[in-house]
Amino acid sequence: MPALPSLILYFSLFVSLFFEVVILITYFETREEIKFEEEHLKKPILSYPSVSIIVPSFNEEATVAGTIDSLLKLDYPADKLSLLLIDDGSSDKTLEVMNRYKDHSQVRIFSKPNEGSKFAALNFALERVETDLVGCLDADSFVAPGALKLMIPFFEDAETMAVTPAVKIHEPKNLLQRIQKMEYIWGVLFRRMLSSMGAMYVTPGPFSIFRTRVFRELGGYRLAHHTEDMEMALRMQKNHYKIVNSVGAHVFTVAPDKIKALYKQRVRWSYGFLNNAIDYKDMYFNRKYGHIGMFILPIATLSVFNTLYAAVMFVWGIGIKSAHAFTKYQVVGFSAHAPSLNFNWFYWNTSVLICVALVAVAINITLLLLSAGIAKEEKFIGKELLYYLTLYIFLPPFWLAKSTYNTVFSKKISWR
């Protein structure tokens, strides 16, 4: 009978594999739907709804001009598109950069004191929105010119209340950004699958477009543990407001280029997920909420603990091996002979766990390649795939541990 730690490990692996298989099946179910969407999106738009895009900015002097320029280059009738630039109490030259656009007919600029989180800036702008649709674009993100046109047709369905884009990394330069590029590519497929399942639990800050009435009916953004985009999606799901994903609408965001910044961002995201999950706990295993309540939220929560458990087991294994190596060193010193690599198959680990893990990795690679296809990134993922598979796995346990700790001990986190 395997010991309890092994049983937990088997269970974790079963859950991870089950999740991958569900996503893979959903992909095969959705292929035709995606093709049909692509064809439908090629048709001309007969009536353009009016759209406002909010750009909340706090100390984004380096990137905000690029964000505004990309919005002004959107292939969309100028009289139907307006921009609300919000300087959220920046201490740098963000407002100065914004003021360069003050004479542009599509642009309105506002400056307000910072209230510690993005949600206040968004609500400030929402009060001034009078268009049919409204979206937001973080001041470190850029849209592809055709993005909006690839999202608007989804609103032909009167039930659709929000459309999310495919978020990708803007010009990754260093190793850390390249690893995140692959992660975001995987996110493109994952979000599209969630869309098919009616289970989107985030309406990402970069360029999610909503019917303005959503905010009139459900209220504005909330602090929501500094993940207002997640809370809004969960609130919409709870009220059975339909959220879909436009996989062809590409939005690019600047990824953190330093470990510390990435860690801080991910602690905020995972802390936000755990705490919003607690706030919306009544959705869990509730048939009323379909796939999101019965599958996606429970498995996403479980995956946090699976990752932490796997990390603990990994560190434990390394610790035991190191202890043996240290004991050996204490007793006989370093061996005069270098340890020889033994390629005899007899010494290969052929445990059930390894066999299942190999299958899980194979399915994972398949999903990543399918993601690259759907995100139109097939030609550029060689290195990214390798980095992602070998290096990325070591990163999440750090921020998941911190956010779990903060959640358990009710310690708040800050936006920055």
Binding site: E29, V331, S335, F346, I354
Partner: protein, 232 residues
Amino acid sequence: MSNKKYIFAFLITAAIFVTALYVSNTLNKKKLDEVRLVEDRLSLNILSSETQSALLQETSCKDVNNTFLTYELADLGNKLSYAASQNSSDNAQIVTLKHYYSLLQIKDYLLMKNITAKCGIKPTFLLYFYSDKSGCPDCEKMGYVLDALHEKYPGIRIYSFDYNSDEPAVKSLISIYHVDNKLPAVIANSDPYYGFKTVNELETKIPSLTRLKIEFDKARAASSTPATTTPQ
């Protein structure tokens, strides 16, 4: 919401697990079969040596190789301990293979004692008694020391026995050499040495190892001393 997809996904996941279980069991069985095969081969080799020993009066000691089977026994020991670490300790096949291995070691020990005595060779035999159970915190360290010793002096023959083995032959060995349950224990030329000992301590305390060390140091000094004569 349809449950069909989840049932289908569950069945696929379960099928992957069952397949992995089958593949893993098949490969592990193949490994144990390989251990069994090596043991059978070793058994045959020992039988051959026993026959050779019986014929010694009619043949020359030059034909007897005193490092005979050392590598095979060590390789078998490594494979068996790896297989044991990958399977549960109460695996019946592993237990049987361990018994078989203990018997082969004893047979090899007796045979080599016999051959070396007849041929006037002064070999170094070490019988090492350990315990897999938690009662022997120093056994791991002693294992490293004996590995290092064997690496330094490849000619010595080290036989390892689980002190708690049910194998009657091992119990007899323990009884013959009056080995107390003060593990780890090393028996050299019928003398017991209890508790953890470093390589140096073993070299100092066990006379046959002391001789080997002197020879080893001499050989090393000879190989590191530069030539004193100047070539003409």
